[in-house]
């Protein structure tokens, strides 16, 4: 009843082409932004900010990147963590070797370096498709892993190959409290999410979706396949690179090459799939689910069965519950959580009427 479009007339093309054409959606988004930018940093505990929100946002950013590649352009990739790793190490090296470089420029350059690497590893996509491409991108994963462990220059010759990210400072303003780190990450992620959403509405975005649906047909109607796929790889890797840099600087504070291992790639892929391929919201929902749910389970199990379970059993139960939930969600909605949300919204538009 509340969520109806009745009475909203769009009188300009611009109004029609908005991302949120319905007023209620715009209001909800505004409230959300206010809560996220103002209310949360003021009220959330340092634990929630540092251990829950920041990693969730950073991983959502990486998921956005993978979403562009796999959800929009249909190129299956398992090298996401490798690009994050490139971004993290690139950001560290820029900060280290270029004195006085502004932080945001570092992040942007780190993303650019990752984009370059992504372009190189995206070249095989011109010949290879589907799961074969996924396994081929694993080459990127293992190679980057090896490179950063082997070549001391990347980690400034630290004996263990681990880098410690420098403290963050923007225009003389140090970013050292959980609230500030959270706001920095939130700003970067919001901007990039907006860009991703808009990308899907441009000609490039439409070209991606054409390639995803049937690339032979796309080529026939004149879409330049080479360029389209490579742009997808490039932009996706840019996102992953920035996410990697944020992971190192704003979250963990240190990076060892193993932080961005195959497990991480899989984790981000899971986020995209569970959240819903091809949607921006899916990246956030998936990140929240994959990251926060195991913690929630760990937490609940501790509260409920404090000490009564055989030691270690709680950890195993967590794993089983998580796996079962994944299967459950997929059975209920194979297109992911975002689709569930979309269906909810559609039902809301009719509520309280049945149809």
């Amino acid at each position: 009843m509340i969520y109806r479009e009745a009475g909203q007339f769009r009188t300009t093309y611009a109004a029609d082409e908005r991302i949120f054409p319905i007023t209620q959606d715009r209001v909800a988004m505004a409230i959300l932004l206010v809560v996220a930018f103002v209310v949360v940093p003021l009220t959330a505990s340092s634990y929630a900010l540092t251990a829950l929100l920041v990693p969730m946002l950073v991983l959502a950013l990486a998921a956005l990147g993978l979403n562009i590649l796999t959800g929009y352009a249909g190129q299956f990739s398992l090298g996401t963590a490798a690009f994050m790793s490139v971004g993290a190490f690139a950001a560290y090296n820029f900060q280290l070797r270029v004195p006085g470089i502004p932080l945001l420029v570092t992040f942007a350059l780190a993303g650019a370096v990752a984009a370059g690497v992504g372009l190189v590893f995206g070249l095989p996509s011109l010949r290879i498709k589907g799961f074969y491409l996924a396994v081929a991108t694993l080459a990127a994963q293992f190679f980057v892993d090896w490179l950063f462990t082997k070549v001391g220059w990347f980690s400034n010759d630290s004996p263990s190959g681990t880098i410690t990210a420098q403290p963050m400072v923007i225009a003389g303003f140090p970013i050292d409290t959980p609230a500030r780190r959270y706001l920095l990450v939130l700003s970067i992620v919001s901007v990039l999410a907006l860009v991703a959403k808009n990308l899907s509405r441009t000609a490039t975005g439409r070209a991606w979706m054409a390639v995803r649906d049937m690339d032979v047909a796309a080529e026939v109607i004149g879409i330049p396949i080479l360029r389209t796929k490579l742009i997808a790889f490039g932009i996706s890797s840019f996102y992953c690179g920035v996410a990697g840099a944020l992971w190192a600087f704003a979250y963990l504070g240190t990076v060892e090459p193993q932080a961005f291992d195959l497990q991480r790639s899989f984790q981000i892929l899971f986020m995209v799939i569970i959240g819903g391929l091809g949607t921006v919201m899916g990246a956030f929902l998936g990140a929240a689910f994959i990251l926060l749910f195991p913690l929630f389970l760990n937490w609940v199990l501790h509260l409920v069965v404090r000490g009564e379970l055989r030691p270690g059993l709680a950890s195993q139960l967590e794993l089983v519950c998580f796996g079962a939930l994944i299967i459950f969600f997929l059975v209920v909605e194979p297109h992911g959580l975002a689709r569930l949300w979309q269906i909810t919204k559609e039902k809301l538009r009719l509520w309280p009427f049945p149809h």
Partner: protein, 442 residues
């Protein structure tokens, strides 16, 4: 959509706050956070180590009524050996208990690196016994990190000294060939620099052979070793790499008693899968295994008899990792006890426990009091020296169990300490830290 995530975080925050408010009722308690890994590739070792740790704490609570009347409490948090889970556990547990967390021990180098900055800011010490950032042995730059007992660089010198002993003297090492077979991760690479330095000093040929993680396939490496025909192989492995290495050695016929592993590659979990073929394999021992140590017997007598033991598989009591868990418990509690001596017999803050850890002194008399003679090397922690020990014993696998075959072998501090200081100063410069002046502190 962010409302959903906000829902989770708010709910979690609310429930954490509720959880925090509960223990305020019981006041005379010292909270020891216990981030653990009972899942994942290192779960086997983790289960034994944490089992030993918890059993020791239970022993003190049950037998002695706590530490000088202060009850010891703890809470486990699964980290799966991953840095991001470790950070989450850290944030979750750091404020628990009437005075906050006393000291964190993650048993993982990766997690430790990620938490060092935060712990220093929050003034909670990290006890990184026998692992972690080796250069944190310089307490002037890392006041809150304690890589106690033996770090990886000291360990490497211990192993080389042991090999020298076996060869009949350090001068006999000249011209010999020693291979360092290591896991291709940060932990495995740590000893390489000092290994090569010792090669220069003693005149032996040092060869580095890397095994890509996780180390399940080592055929190429062992064929290479066979071709090279070294006199000794030093093994720096963890988890599945070690049994694969031992099997690899058996296949190429390399003698087991010329392979020396470090103290994370020398446990029953490593040799049992290989069985009789591993007979003769030597490894460094941070602590002796076995049940003929008084404190282990006490645990069985008091804790297990009352059915409160943490280990489900009781055959593992007295194993290498179980005893290491007990050792962890002893060192942690010792730090708190020393702190109580200065600040009073009550629940202490992290900062106070840090002082306690920095002033630990263990000699033979204290060892007898603890019920652990020969179990821990005598040591004296100080402001500048957070490692304090550097020695290990050596043990050998006889086909069914580990037997100690040497006494405490000391590290070559003249070689190790300058490297540590150099690395620590580099870190200090990179991160704008002013090293403490130890002469000014109490």
């Amino acid at each position: 959509m962010r409302t959903r995530t906000r829902g989770w975080s708010e709910a979690a925050a609310l429930l954490v706050a509720l959880g925090l408010s509960a223990p305020a009722i019981a006041q005379n308690e010292q909270f020891i956070p216990m981030p653990s890994y009972r899942q994942g590739p290192y779960a086997a070792g983790g289960t034994s180590i944490y089992g030993g740790f918890i059993d020791y704490l239970n022993l003190l609570n049950m037998r002695d009524g706590g530490l000088n009347g202060v009850k010891l409490t703890w809470e486990e948090c699964e980290t799966e050996y991953k840095p991001d889970r470790g950070v989450e556990c850290y944030e979750r547990l750091k404020g628990k208990g009437p005075t906050g967390a006393s000291v964190f021990n993650f048993l993982s180098t990766g997690i430790t690196y990620a938490v060092i900055g935060k712990a220093t800011q929050d003034k909670i010490p990290l006890l990184t016994m026998a692992y972690g950032r080796t250069d944190a042995s310089d307490g002037r730059v890392f006041p809150y990190v304690f890589p106690m007992l033996t770090n990886y660089w000291s360990l490497n010198t211990d192993i080389v000294r042991f090999i020298g002993q076996k060869e009949g003297g350090m001068d006999k090492l000249k011209g010999k060939k020693i291979v360092h077979l290591y896991l291709g991760v940060a932990y495995g690479k740590e000893p390489n620099a000092i290994f090569q330095k010792q090669a220069e000093k003693y005149g032996f040929e040092a060869k580095l052979v890397e095994v890509p993680a996780p180390g399940t396939e080592q055929q190429a490496q062992w064929l290479e070793i066979r071709q090279y025909k070294p006199d000794w192989v030093i093994l720096t492995g963890f988890g599945v790499m070690t049994p694969a290495s031992l099997k690899g050695a058996a296949r190429v016929g390399f003698p087991m008693d010329h392979i020396v592993g470090n103290f994370w590659s020398g446990s029953e979990e490593d040799t049992e899968p290989v069985g009789a073929a591993a007979k003769g394999y030597i490894s460094a021992a941070l602590n002796p295994p076995g049940k003929d140590i008084k404190v282990i017997q006490e645990i069985e007598r008091v804790v297990y008899a009352a059915g409160k033991g943490n280990m489900v598989n009781k055959a593992r009591i007295g194993s290498v990792f179980y005893n290491r868990g007990v050792l962890t418990g002893i060192m942690t509690v010792e730090g708190i006890r020393v702190a109580q001596g200065k600040f009073g017999k009550k629940p202490l803050t992290g900062e106070q426990v840090r002082w306690g850890l920095e002033n630990i002194k263990i000699d033979d008399a204290r060892l007898t009091q603890l019920g652990a003679p020969g179990f821990i090397q005598p040591l004296k922690v100080s402001c500048a020296d957070h490692e304090a020990g550097g020695a290990v014993k050596f043990q050998q696998w006889d086909g069914t169990k580990w037997k100690i075959i040497s006494d405490w072998i000391q590290a070559d501090k003249s070689l190790v300490r300058p490297m540590i200081e150099e690395s620590a100063m580099k870190y200090a410069k990179e991160n704008n830290i002013t090293p403490r002046d130890c002469s000014k502190e109490g």
